[in-house]
Amino acid sequence: MKVFEKPHALTDNVLHYCPGCTHGIIHRLVAEVIDELGIEGRTIGVASVGCSVMAYNYFNVDMVQAAHGRAPAVATGVKRTEPDNIVFTYQGDGDLAAIGTAEMVHSAARGENITIIFVNNAIYGMTGGQMAPTTLPGQVTQTSPYGRDVKTVGYPVKVCEMVSQLDGAAYIERVAVNNVKNVRNAKKAIKKAFEYQVEGKGFSLIELISSCPTNWGLTPSKALEWIDENMIPYYPLGVYKDKYADKEAGSDD
């Protein structure tokens, strides 16, 4: 009788993430999808810089580790030379929405047939909790000690809203991993994104609203509540773009 198993696409290495961090959940969801689609043998992952820098130790697939923000460009190089393989990046908010904005936006604009897993926890975790491009207005971090003041440092970057404007993007959805229902939706979104790539439908980006109990200074359970109270109101969940759903609905896209 099968009770509970670790996905085959995860290695046996012990995760280095902090207690209560949701990276573990997201790693598992990606691995489950790789298992279910039977694509482990032809998947190549691109790790980024940040807390998930060592993702190459956890996924049971060929992996390359990219410079800060450059994962979508590296993934482009991999995909263009190995077009039959499934290529994904795994990036945090600092990596994707600050230093790597150009690489992310242009891989979407080109409609690269890759999948971006974007983990947004509104803070730079690895370096110890500095203000991220997605840090909420008023949020206290090491480099916004009086709270993010939008008058001087501006507003958070809403990635899904922005990227969904690009004609090259095929599928853009924002999900969260702070409760069972949201986790189940998150998996559906990740699966669809990988399926789109398998079917050659083009660029997809799944933004996962995630927690950082350590740098938020909250317990793991309070951090999950904080997502509901603060993150989701600013970053509404949902499908921002689905080129093919639109088509079915009769759009002329």
Binding site: E40, I44, N57, D62, Q65, A66, A73, R80, A102, E103
Partner: protein, 355 residues
């Protein structure tokens, strides 16, 4: 294609890359190397290859990293300001032990500088291409034929040693036309058991990575890499000599400067001055041994450069300053004239030395 064809340097280089098996070019427009990109844009789709114009030089070099990770012969090309942007990627290519060909058709700097020929990225190419301990193999063509030959050789060396090979060219080499032969012979095959191609469920995952948080582990990798560099220094340095048999003054020049110098040497010889030239073809590894030997015989060296004097340091190091090294230089896009070089030859000839 063993017959001679008339080609522009940049286009000849691009065709040579294709003949060397390169099917993926990632680049960004910048003068004076844009002909390479334009040529690739035209040719690649016709031969089942990929030409991709990236959003930036940074993206282009990272696409090269991705392509190199799968074991393909990939390349990018740029000119000085663009090469600065690629520096991050050059460091990662070294840290990941990935082969790649990177072309720098140099223009004047610093900053936006100019668009005329220059050799002022010598330090960048041979010493400071990015952060951390690493080298690139640096090849300096001085004719369109060498743009071809060294591109072919560059891909080979890059794969043989799993590192970046840079073609350090300049606007003159890129823009001028000369007859060339494109017959390059066999492509050598090297072990690719590190390449990311998907496990196919048949092997353990491969990881390409430059992060080593344990200092002793990182040190081990760096030492191993420098062992490889030592072999390259021993086996791969290339130079060409011109009228060195009885030379008492030795010109040192590469690229366009070496062509001007040859004319100056012929003229000086007519005046009875015993002058010759050593032209380094590999700038890294610098042909140190040849310079050590030359220092036993010549009274002085003259470094002819399109920079404020960068290679001169390698000559001084190789000869341990046993002979004076004079500098004959123009910069900012200016090229030394035959008269400039003749003047320095005459000056060098007056040095008595200790022979």
């Amino acid at each position: 294609m063993s017959e001679k064809v008339l080609m522009k340097g940049n286009e000849a280089l691009a065709e040579a890359a294709i003949m060397a098996g390169c099917r993926h070019y990632f680049g960004y427009p910048i003068t004076p190397q844009t002909e390479i990109a334009a040529y690739m844009a035209k040719r690649m789709p016709k031969i089942g290859g990929v030409f991709l114009q990236a959003e930036s030089e940074i993206a282009a070099i990272n696409m090269v990293i991705g392509g190199a990770s799968t074991g393909r012969r990939v390349m990018t090309s740029s000119s000085s300001p663009g090469i600065s942007l690629k520096s991050e990627g050059l460091s990662y290519l070294a840290g990941c032990d990935l082969p790649a060909l990177v072309v720098n058709v140099q223009r004047g700097g610093p900053g936006l500088g100019g668009i005329q020929p220059s050799q002022s990225d010598y330090f960048h190419a041979t010493r400071g291409a990015g952060h951390g301990d690493f080298h690139m193999i640096v090849l300096a063509p001085s004719s369109v034929q060498e743009m071809v030959n060294l591109t072919f050789k560059g891909f080979d060396l890059a794969e043989k040693y799993r590192m970046t090979c840079m073609i350090l060219s300049d606007g003159t080499m890129g823009q001028m036309m000369e007859p060339v032969t494109l017959d390059m012979g066999e492509i050598q095959k090297y072990d690719k058991s590190w390449a990311l191609t998907g496990t196919k469920g048949e092997r353990k995952p491969r990881i390409i990575n430059s992060l080593f948080l344990q200092p002793d582990e990182l040190e081990k990798f760096n030492f191993a890499r420098y062992e490889r560099y030592k072999k390259i220094e021993e086996n791969e340095s290339i130079y060409e000599e011109y009228r060195m048999e009885d030379a008492e003054v030795c010109i040192v020049a590469f690229g366009v400067a070496s062509r001007v110098s040859k004319n100056a040497i012929d003229k000086a010889r007519e005046q009875g001055i015993k002058v010759g030239m050593i032209r380094p073809v590999t700038l890294w590894p610098f042909p140190k041994k040849r310079f050590e030997e030359a220092a036993d015989k010549v009274r002085a060296f003259v470094s002819v450069e399109l920079s404020m004097g960068q290679m001169i340091e390698d000559i001084e190091l190789a000869t341990r300053c046993r002979r004076p090294v004079l500098l004959c230089n123009r910069t900012g896009g200016m090229i030394p004239t035959v008269e400039n070089v003749l003047e320095k030859i005459a000056e060098a000839d007056k040095i008595g030395g200790t022979r």
